[in-house]
């Protein structure tokens, strides 16, 4: 019997709470309050913050493990936790030499704050993270910012939002910064509901965000660097980890179904058995590519040039596309195995929620957009032909 890591042990309660409320969260399209509180009670919000600032210096691998575990129980909880940790990783990676962000990290750890994100924008920007219309307007020691944010996940539940915007009103769309605005420093005027197929508990509604905050809260590094060095990689790795959790749970349901069927009919191999074998094969591919992706990121972190390289960007893009495709295929296979029992809601073999949650994976930063970016890079980048890399 393999033992869980100490962090996973601490997440056992939160996972149980997530499993208990997942159907209600999904049905009502509501924030997973209970499981997020359980994660705070287990002091798991600030674990990636350095020890000297009150955190536990947990690695991204530790966080990915937690996301995978949560994903097996409630994909919405896992996604909220992953999105929070993606923001934390940016603050940890790029705020270490910056007084305001150091103090902010200490607050995240001591008060178990939940961080939200506002990158998506209206006016034709959509999910094109590398472009903004809205701009930071400096006014003495403070700045103002007004953003037509077509999506901000759990905006009304979080304690701070990390917003992208142009550096100044006269800066081009790609010259962006990331600013942290704390609850009380912004107002939100709701512009769009969140009534979706899946990931319903993330409450990713649309808002007009109006903020005023000290200029100290703008990250010193350009957003393009933040995206390349921490955000895109951690997003793809943590999303992939929670998607793995959804897939693993779907396969375990399919396997349980086949086992029950086999027990009833001794001497016969149940019809769907071969599909379980196929699903387990895809699950292994998913797991291997996530572990390899994590290794790739750890290696790249040792050298900034590598983090900014095309080869790293392409590896991370391919990881996202690969894991999201495997997820939908795995859930499909599992549904075929469980048949009507997978199709029906509420039973032990039910897979409707898994399938609806999984459908978000190829669309969150649309795979076609990512393919567009990688195909552009492949005009100049030559792929590594070696096996060992």
């Amino acid at each position: 019997m393999t033992r869980n890591s100490p962090l996973l042990e601490r997440a056992v309660d939160a996972c149980a709470v997530a499993a208990k409320f997942c159907d209600d969260v999904d049905r009502q399209s509501r924030f997973p309050t209970e499981s997020m509180q359980a994660l705070k009670d287990a002091r798991l919000m600030g674990v990636m913050i350095p020890r000297e600032l009150g955190g536990e210096s947990a690695s991204l691998r530790d966080i990915a493990d937690l996301c995978a575990q949560l994903g097996q129980n409630c994909a919405s909880t896992a996604m909220v936790y992953a999105m929070h940790q993606i923001k934390v990783s940016s603050v940890v990676s790029h705020g270490a030499d910056h007084a305001w962000h150091r103090a902010f990290m200490a607050c995240i750890a001591s008060q178990q704050l939940l961080l939200g994100s506002s990158t998506t924008e209206g006016g034709g920007i959509g999910g094109d993270l590398g472009n903004s219309i809205c701009a930071v307007e400096r006014d003495g020691d403070e700045f103002t910012l007004r953003k037509d944010a077509t999506v901000i996940s759990y905006a009304t539940q979080c304690d701070a939002i990390l917003v992208t915007a142009r550096r100044a009103p006269d800066a081009p769309g790609s010259d962006q910064v990331m600013a942290t605005v704390l609850k009380g420093q912004y107002t939100l005027e709701k512009t769009a509901e969140w009534d979706t197929l899946g990931m319903r508990g993330t409450c990713s509604e649309g808002f007009i965000l109006d903020a005023r905050a000290p200029v100290d809260q703008i990250m010193p590094l350009p957003f393009a660097e933040i995206a390349a060095r921490s955000m895109l990689a951690t997003a793809h790795l943590l999303w992939g980890a929670l998607w793995y959790g959804i897939a693993a749970n779907a396969v375990s349901r399919a396997q349980a179904y086949i086992r029950a069927d086999a027990r009833k009919k001794p001497g016969q191999v149940p019809i769907g058995a071969v599909r379980v074998a196929e699903a387990s094969n895809m699950l292994q591919l998913m797991r291997s590519s996530l572990n390899a992706g994590m290794e790739r990121f750890e290696k790249a972190q040792l050298a900034n040039d590598d983090l900014n390289s095309m080869s790293f960007a392409i590896d991370m893009c391919n990881l996202k596309i690969g894991t999201s495709r495997l997820l939908t295929d795995i859930v499909n296979q599992s549904m075929m195995v469980c048949g009507i029992n997978g199709y029906k809601n509420g039973g032990p073999y039910s897979l409707g929620r898994h399938m609806r949650d999984a459908m978000s994976a190829p669309l969150m930063i649309n795979n076609d957009r990512i393919f567009g970016n990688t195909s552009n890079m492949l005009l100049v980048h030559r792929l590594d032909q070696r096996l060992a890399g």
Binding site: S174, A224, E225, N308, N373, N376
Partner: protein
């Protein structure tokens, strides 16, 4: 060489400002160079100088300014750098 680089940036860079207003050390990304346009620029440079950028140069830093581009070209094709 920088004259050619400037001409290529003008052709492929899709910058919102006139190329003449840029200094050699100015950050092209801050000026509005997108990652898509950066690749188009790389292709234009490879064609114009008859070079292939090695893998280690395919990162943001190598194309961050006219100076940075010039030093990349000078490194891989020293004979063309004087052109």
């Amino acid at each position: 060489m920088k004259v050619i680089i400037r001409k290529l940036i003008e052709q492929h860079g899709r910058l919102p400002v006139a190329i003449a207003t840029l200094s050699d050390d100015q950050d092209l990304y801050a000026t509005g160079l997108t990652s898509f346009a950066a690749v188009q620029l790389m292709l234009g440079l490879e064609e114009a100088f008859d070079v292939e950028f090695p893998e280690r140069m395919l990162n943001r830093k190598s194309f961050a300014s006219i100076d940075a581009i010039a030093s990349c070209i000078a490194e891989i094709a020293p004979q063309k750098a004087v052109a």
